[in-house]
């Protein structure tokens, strides 16, 4: 019998996988049972991940390894990078499940929805736990396939079109990634993420091979990370129901891409070697352009979720920028943004969902006076939006501060200009929303108001998640210096794995 430590990564996957199977097996109308299993799975996973956090902090090794082909291992291992991503996913999965239960109340096809929803989280967990490139790839692909039914869930023409666009982009990306991966295996054979130096010892004649492989891998991952010009599926995919958008933008898909880029830079190539190869400036340039382009496009979007989507395009590239600037501080800024962007953006999508659900308002121009009608929702949204701009003491401020510090530290002063411009642009497209919500009186009746009878502005299933994430946004920033903050964990990562001599 394998030990508990070597089974834990599998168990973490199983919590949501079993939930998915159970949900598919249950009938469409078994709402209460389904809710029970959904929450049970989410809480069990959170507990397991919590144990994993404790274990990794104390240098435990959690590894599941299985040789399924000669020389080819299927490896699930929890390192400190894993913890960063899987804690985020497990935490936000629980909240999004709660939210989705409230959001989809009474709508059809909920079995399919929640089934794929759980699968999607399984894949995300797999991505975070993957211990080598092939395992990563398997889960990364599974993620594509399991999110597709969620994107097209509504079944409208627009949703189907968005879904097909999503598949075209992501499958194209996968092809590039697969090619890069196979090429790499031909050159150096299989190796785990924690085996550093596998590439740097290669014959210098293969230098150009490695550069092209880097481009293939990052290009493939860049689709999900919405790097320009591979970002177009993301704004289209916002037709999905709000909880899906919340998950796509904050945790699952775009983060899997960004996380993959981090893995490739640090664990496949190694940051020093990537720098020697000279591939980092190109990556920084693309990230910088994406940051500015996404923000500029967001300025003119009247559709609420579309504006948020372009904002995601911009914000996720902070992670790539931080990683590619080369330097411990910028890395801290980039990695911590993985978590910070997640909690901020999920708050915003929850809020957008509430506005759509309660009032039928989908456009920014319909938001006049919404703060009075949905004060809790819009307060949460405001906190997240101010955080995105980088207003202290919120989470986004910490990311931006470290990115700026790191850029200066690495002597890349141009990046400060990008960050400053991006902050101004963020302000220019988020502050008008806040202004409309809080300072303008309601002009027209709401497009489709669903009356809610109760003490709260909207059912607590829908109100609690954004309020909870908004509180996280405040604490992640205000208490960034505390040992349990995301920032402290990222500093642990940078000390332990990457920049230690």
């Amino acid at each position: 019998m394998p030990s508990f430590d070597s089974t834990l990564p599998l168990l973490v996957l199983m919590t949501s996988l079993v939930t998915a199977v159970v949900i598919f097996a249950l009938g469409e109308h078994r709402v209460k049972t389904r809710t029970f299993f959904n929450l049970l799975g989410a809480i069990a996973k959170l507990a397991l991940v919590g144990y994993m956090v404790w274990g990794v902090f104390h240098q435990h090794v959690f590894e599941t390894r299985w040789r399924f082909m000669p020389q080819l291992d299927f490896v699930l291992r929890a390192d400190s990078m894993t913890i960063l991503f899987s804690t985020l996913s497990a935490g936000l999965w629980l909240l999004t499940t709660i939210y989705a239960i409230g959001y989809l109340e009474g709508s059809p096809n909920r079995r399919r929805f929640f089934g794929y929803f759980s699968l999607c989280v399984t894949s995300t967990m797999g991505v975070s736990l993957a211990g080598n490139l092939i395992t990563f790839f398997v889960f990364y692909e599974l993620l594509t396939l399991t999110t597709y039914p969620l994107v097209v869930h509504r079944g409208t023409d627009k949703a189907i079109r968005a879904g097909s666009m999503y598949l075209r982009y992501t499958l194209g990306g996968s092809a590039a990634m697969l090619a890069g991966m196979l090429w790499l295996y031909v050159l150096v054979g299989p190796f785990d993420f924690n085996a550093t130096g596998a590439l740097s010892s290669l014959d210098p004649n293969y230098r150009w091979h490695l550069i092209v492989i880097f481009a293939l891998l990052v290009g493939g991952l860049g689709v999900k990370a919405a790097l320009i010009p591979l970002h177009r599926w993301l704004p289209a995919a916002m037709v999905a129901p709000a909880p899906v958008s919340a998950l796509l933008h904050a945790v699952a898909v775009v983060k899997a891409g960004a996380f993959g880029i981090v893995r490739v830079v640090y664990d496949v190539y190694g940051i020093e070697f990537a720098k020697d190869l000279g591939v980092l400036p190109g990556l920084s340039a693309i990230a910088a352009i994406t940051i500015l382009y996404g923000s500029i496009r967001a300025l003119t979007q009247d559709d609420f979720k579309r504006r948020l989507a372009f904002s995601t395009v911009s914000q996720v590239s902070y992670i790539t920028l931080g990683v590619s600037l080369f330097g411990p501080l910028a890395t801290v800024g980039g990695l911590v943004h993985l978590v910070h962007q997640g909690i901020m953006k999920i708050t915003m999508f929850f809020a957008a969902g509430n506005v759509a659900e309660a009032l039928g308002a989908h456009k920014v121009s319909e938001l006049d006076g919404v703060g009075k009608r949905l004060p809790g929702t819009m307060a949460a949204f405001s906190i997240a939006a101010l955080g995105m701009i980088g207003v202290p003491p919120l989470a986004g401020f910490i990311s931006k501060w470290y990115l700026g510090w790191g850029a200066a530290d690495a002597g890349q002063y141009w990046a400060l200009g990008v960050l400053a411009a991006s902050s101004l642009l963020n302000a220019a497209y988020f502050l008008p929303i806040l202004y409309r919500a809080w300072f303008k009186p309601q002009r027209k009746p709401w497009p489709h108001e669903h009356p809610h009878h109760g003490r709260l502005e909207i059912s607590w299933w829908l109100l609690a998640p954004p309020v909870a994430t908004a509180i996280l946004v405040v604490f992640a920033g205000l208490l960034a210096g505390h040992p349990t903050s995301p920032l402290s964990w990222v500093q642990l990562i940078s000390q332990r794995e990457y920049l230690a001599p």
Partner: protein, 581 residues
């Protein structure tokens, strides 16, 4: 200033009280009774011995403290916020959005007091941003179009200031390897990037300090806010930029002659330009806002002197502190006086007292002999005498001319106030009698507190303000200004043509509006070109579409069969098998 002997254990408590008091009250805007008392801990902190508190868990490590450089700022901010909160309690009592006002008033107060206490870059930045952003709802409070436009200009420049500070702080931190002001000042001295950093700091803080030409938001925003907010904007918050410079610029340690002289020139442009534009204003609060720009010009030029010539710092430092305190109190009294006028005291005694207060505060601002402004001017002249090159001679004359300008502004202010009191369109705003007490207290402070502080700084120099030696040099500009004002009023009975508030902002606004109308005029031809480009793009897109249609087939297959479902089943089986083995 170490006049209040408190046990060490109480000092951090007092600092926490100074910050948490207004912060918690911001969440209880209806609590107005004793809210003003929230400013008193800050006043008390001005009198304790220097200390520093470290809180590593907050943000990325927070340092708060009191030292001789920030104690006067604590004093002025504590006093102004206390009295304006008190004033606002009665003044805003019948306002429809009073709760919103009180909440943001207190947030801004927290930020203002916090940035004075801050001893590291991150908390300074945090508090500065809190103050700036919380003031935006104060600026647009009444929701009029002119307020909203002013609010937009304010917010745009405030955010620009934030990001420039951010860039400066990032570079400083990377050079220093730490966040504390001590480390930052050291790093700034060593850094090869020093000129860049000084430039960024001048712009980043210059916006708040109304440094020409970054002042354009101020004459728009300060007058439109409700009166108690205008008073703290122009009295206390405007000093935040100045404090930022005192905290970080290498004043007294390294010379930056080019920047220093540029600051002196920019300060002088502020002093005189604001006087010229200000006297044409029709609204008393707009006149006062320009007067603030003019007065800040004096402090800016003093900082410029110290930047150009480090030896001058020991004269510049006390002069700037005293001037900041004196200007804050007088300007706050004048602004609140405008609010007093809207309650239009009918009784003759009330009017007499109001005019006496406005008159005394205005004379103090102009630096009339034997007023507190005279002491401030004497300190400033001493500092000006230490300026580099042939500046001392020039500045001596220019400062006197500046006093003429201030007198003209004050005369203009009194004139516009006279009209306002005579027939006030806002007279329906019947404020409670309660506003009298804070205002009278403030006028009392204007007359006393700067004297006391001047004496504490340098007793001999403060006493010299009472000697006849300075009566003539300080008195003639004020008298001359009064003469010119009388002459102008006699000749131009029908008033001056108002220059647009925001002055040079009118230039880019005009240019953009011309460009827009040019574009509208020529849009038909531009449009044709845009359409041609669109068509070319559409053709390219069609080609791609055909290629991608094949993929669509594969996708339909995925949708019908649910490949993901199969993959799921396989994976489950696989993992269960692994778990068992």
């Amino acid at each position: 200033m170490n006049l209040l002997p408190l046990p060490d254990i109480l000092l951090p408590t007092l600092a926490a009280l100074a910050l948490l008091g207004p912060l918690l009250l911001a969440f209880r805007p209806r609590a107005t009774g004793w809210a003003a008392a929230a400013g008193l801990p800050a006043v008390a902190l001005a009198f304790v011995k220097p200390f520093e508190v470290e809180l590593d868990a907050l943000l990325i490590g927070v340092r708060f403290g009191v030292h001789p450089g920030n104690a006067p700022f604590l004093l002025l901010a504590g006093a102004l916020w206390t009295l304006s909160t008190w004033f606002a309690r009665h003044y805003m009592a019948h306002d429809a959005h009073a709760d919103r006002y009180h909440a943001f008033h207190r947030f801004a107060m927290t930020g203002n007091i916090g940035l004075i206490l801050a001893q590291d870059l991150a908390s300074f930045y945090f508090c500065f941003a809190l103050m700036s952003l919380a003031s935006y709802p104060l600026v647009i409070h009444d929701g009029r179009k002119v307020s909203r436009q002013a609010g937009r200009a304010y917010l745009a420049l405030a955010l620009l200031g934030e990001v420039v500070q951010f860039a400066a702080f990032s570079i400083i931190a990377s050079q220093a390897g730490a966040w504390t002001f001590d480390a930052a000042r050291g790093a700034l001295l060593e850094s090869p990037l020093r000129p860049w950093l000084i430039g960024l700091l001048l712009v980043g803080f210059g916006i708040k300090a109304a440094l020409f030409p970054l002042h354009v938001w101020l004459p728009l925003a300060h007058p439109v806010a409700p009166t108690p907010a205008s008073a703290v904007l122009s009295g206390s918050m405007i000093k935040a930029g100045l404090l930022g410079w005192l905290n970080l610029l290498p004043l007294g340690a390294a010379a930056a002659p080019a920047f220093g002289e540029a600051l002196i020139v920019a300060g002088l442009i502020g002093v005189f330009g604001a006087a010229v534009v200000g006297v044409t204003q029709h609204q008393p609060k707009a006149v006062l806002a320009y007067s603030s720009i003019s007065q800040m010009g004096l402090m800016i030029l003093a900082v410029g002197i110290a930047l150009a010539r480090p030896e001058a710092m020991k004269y510049v430092f006390p002069a700037v502190l005293l001037y900041a305190l004196h200007h804050a109190l007088a300007k706050c009294a004048l602004f609140l006086g405008v609010g007093m006028a809207t309650s239009a005291p009918r009784a003759a005694l009330g009017r007499a007292v109001l005019w006496a207060g406005l008159f005394l505060s205005g004379l103090a601002l102009a630096g009339f002999p034997f007023t507190s402004g005279a002491a401030a001017k004497i300190f400033l002249k001493t500092a000006a005498a230490e300026a580099p090159g042939d500046w001392p001679a020039r500045l001596g004359m220019l400062l006197s001319l500046g006093a003429i300008g201030t007198t003209l502004l004050m005369a203009r202010f009194w004139w516009t106030m006279k009209k306002k009191i005579a027939h006030d369109p806002d007279a329906h705003h019947v404020a409670a009698r309660g506003i009298w007490i804070p205002w009278l207290l403030l006028v009392g402070l204007v007359l006393t507190l700067p004297w006391w502080f001047a004496g504490w700084l340098n007793a001999a120099k403060a006493a010299s303000a009472f000697s006849m030696k300075y009566a003539l040099p300080l008195g003639w500009p004020v008298l001359a200004g009064a003469g010119v004002a009388g002459l102008v009023m006699a000749v131009m009975r029908h008033g001056l043509r108002e220059l647009p508030p925001g002055d040079i902002l009118a230039i880019p606004v005009w240019t953009v509006s011309r460009l827009v109308s040019f574009y509208r005029l020529h849009r038909p031809t531009l449009g044709a070109r845009v359409r041609a480009a669109d068509e070319a793009r559409a053709l390219a897109r069609d080609g791609l579409k055909n290629l991608l249609r094949a993929l669509a087939g594969a996708e339909r297959y995925l949708r019908t069969l649910g490949v993901a479902g199969i993959a799921l089943a396989l994976l489950t089986a696989l993992l269960i098998w692994r778990l068992g083995s």
